[in-house]
């Protein structure tokens, strides 16, 4: 992915930071509970990607991997089949669309999740939430609207959105 290349092309300091961000976990592990900071974990083939603390990225992000953001990201995130976790140090200014979104850091922008949005106690969210389920811990900051939609409706909306593209392909 373009932003992976960007991070690899960074200077020595960034390489050092990047090494911290290669947090590939055991397949059974979940991004819902990201590893403590400064703990380097062994690389594995589990499909998730980390934007490290020193990374500042702008643009459109899409794919089929879970994502942990510990750095800064601005733009749009579209991972409808995956989990996006904004770590405690993460700062995101983006429209986020994912299967599941967990916020421990700061997000400014609307969040849409097919399954669940969780705002942990350290989380700070300003934007509208649309999901099948929402969990907000005491102490979290949230400003915005909450819309609970059934997953079926969410899929229907997603399907409707993709319809023109399918027609074009045909």
């Amino acid at each position: 992915m373009w932003w992976e290349k960007k991070s690899r092309g960074a200077g020595p300091q960034d390489e050092k930071d990047a090494s911290l961000t290669v947090v590939s976990s055991h397949p059974s592990a979940s991004l819902a509970d990201p590893a403590p900071r400064n703990v380097e974990m062994p690389t594995a083939n589990y499909n998730h990607t980390v934007i490290g603390r020193s990374m500042v990225l702008h643009g459109e992000l899409s794919g089929k991997e879970d994502l942990l953001i510990e750095g800064q990201f601005a733009g749009t995130i579209n991972l409808p089949e995956n989990c996006v976790t904004v770590g405690a140090g993460g700062e995101v200014k983006a429209e986020v669309r994912a299967r599941q979104v967990i916020v421990q850091g700061a997000v400014t922008g609307n969040i849409s999740a097919g399954e669940k949005i969780e705002i942990r106690k350290t989380g700070h969210v300003v934007g509208d939430l649309v999901a099948a389920a929402i969990a907000i811990e005491d102490g979290a900051f949230f400003k915005g609207s909450i819309d609970i939609v059934r997953e079926q409706a969410h899929h229907a909306a997603a399907a409707a959105a993709s319809q023109p593209v399918l027609r074009e392909l045909e």
Binding site: A135, I136, D138, G144, S145, I146, I148
Partner: protein, 220 residues
């Protein structure tokens, strides 16, 4: 016709060390009966975001807007005060800028909780006017104001344990900074509106201000 849902749900914020047992709210009972014909009321919650409140309102079918105005006031954030003069003045415009962008006449109800007790009186009229501009005809404002005998507990926070039961944090020890908000003051804030005051045993009055009009018009 949709009946008010009054069944009990297990509260997420249980009545443990940091909270007092929930108590039945006559104002909430009145509110949900009043809104019984509305399948999807639009409610703005001006308190700290609470999972329990969100769950209760979602089960009721509500569309929820959360704009926590209480937490910054409890912290007495310096940013709300202009201290350039001899007497500090409350920056009401700046305070209101913390609100979400909400379309005029788009909300069914506003849960202001104890916000009036935390605001200087000179800010009440402007804040109330802004809130009322958000309400549809027939929309309502729900707030909790202290009785004169209650001198401490300004930091107490509130949430919904179920549709008709209020949960609250442990009664605080911090003194109220401003004088009691009287019923007459509330009536003056909403000329032409219907003001209903419910007495409780908690040392607080529950107040519902209903804007003129039919609450069922223009609902989504």
């Amino acid at each position: 016709m949709m009946r008010p849902q009054t069944h009990q749900h297990a509260p997420h914020r249980s009545t443990g060390a940091g909270s007092t047992p929930g108590h039945s709210s006559p104002a909430l009972e009145w509110i949900w009966k009043y809104l019984s014909d509305l399948p999807s009321p639009r409610i703005m919650d001006c308190g700290p975001v609470s999972q329990a409140t969100v769950d209760v309102l979602v089960r009721r079918g509500a569309k929820i807007h959360v704009a926590d105005l209480i937490t910054p006031l409890l912290r007495d954030e310096a940013q709300f005060w202009d201290r350039r003069g001899k007497i500090a003045s409350f920056r009401t415009d700046f305070f209101l800028s913390q609100l979400l962008p909400i379309a005029p006449e788009s909300l069914t109800g506003i849960f202001a909780w104890n916000l009036f007790d935390l605001l200087p009186h000179e800010a009440h009229a402007q804040v109330a006017a802004r809130w009322f501009s958000f309400l549809r005809p027939g929309g309502l404002l729900f707030c909790i104001v202290r009785e004169p005998r209650l001198e401490k507990g300004s930091e107490t926070t509130w949430w919904l344990e179920n549709l008709t039961t209020l949960g609250s944090g442990r009664e605080g020890t911090k003194a109220f900074a401003y004088a009691v908000v009287t019923n007459r003051e509330v009536e003056r804030l909403a000329p032409g509106a219907s003001v209903k005051t419910f007495l409780t045993r908690s040392g607080r009055r529950e107040v519902v201000v209903v804007i003129q009009g039919d609450s069922t018009t223009g609902q989504n």
